[in-house]
């Protein structure tokens, strides 16, 4: 049996009615007591925002700027034609202070 648009609409209306017909349980006083007992066991609400929350907020506030900075740096590196191997070799060869750089690396 092939379904047409009007069949889908009919089916959807049927499902919407079924959805709204779902039973509603009555929450009794016992449930309320259980919730309150759980809440009391948690202790008082912390009114101030914790350091972790503040840190998380600061990190997200800085995220767009950090992203932008990374993009700018990548752009700069690409335009400057930066090659780390070449730069390192150049430093070693042109080292004005004898072998200082090599000594840093423990060679």
């Amino acid at each position: 049996m092939k379904l047409f648009k009007r069949d889908h609409t009919k089916l959807e209306n049927l499902l919407i009615r079924a959805y709204h017909e779902r039973e509603r349980p009555d929450v009794d006083e016992l449930w309320q007591m259980r919730v309150m007992s759980h809440i009391r066991s948690l202790g008082p609400v912390r009114s101030g925002r914790g350091y972790i929350t503040l840190f998380e907020q600061s990190v997200w506030r800085l995220a767009p700027m950090t992203g932008l900075l990374i993009l700018i740096l990548v752009g700069l590196l690409l335009t400057l034609d930066f090659m780390p191997d070449y730069e390192m070799a150049k430093i070693l060869i042109d080292d004005p202070v004898e072998f200082t750089v090599l000594q840093w690396f423990g060679v």
């Binding site: 049996m1 499902l15 079924a18 017909e21």
Partner: protein, 196 residues
Amino acid sequence: MNNGPSQPSDEDIIRRVIGGDIDAFESILVRHKDRVVDIVRKHVPYHEVEETAHDVFVRAYQSLATFKKRSRFEHWVSAIAVRACYDFWRKRYRSRELPMSSLSEEHQGWLEGVMQDRSDRSFDDRVSQEKAKELLAWALDRLSPEDRMVLELVYLEGRSGRETADLLGWSVANVKVRSLRARRKLRRLMAGLVEA
């Protein structure tokens, strides 16, 4: 919530709770439990409603300090309730705790009968109501938690994209795209059932 002149507002009670009067939270619980249960019962199985509603109030209590007076408390707690239901399905989806509901040939036969009946009276008897509920549960079980929630909120409850986005904490564009996809999936599921 609109309270009488003698009754303290939600904001007053929240201030007391934050000030250390934990018992004052019971007033919030009494005031908003019907709303929360009404939201939760639409999204989770009947036997999980109490547990999920319990979770909603615990979450609300724990994040009470983040409640901003700009929004109304009932809207804030409604969003917590919807997200708790969403988390319920995400958890269940990950752990695959329950076997999926299944349909019998009887359901298929009933569905074909409904489709062939050109009148709109196919849903009037109790048996039909039960069959439609089982059919709905079967279809929703086959959707991801995201699709399930957005389909329920947008198509089954008739909420707007913005309202749904606020409740779920998603962008409006995400809600629109997801709801279209979810509806298409639901239609495919139904078509597969009838055309099988």
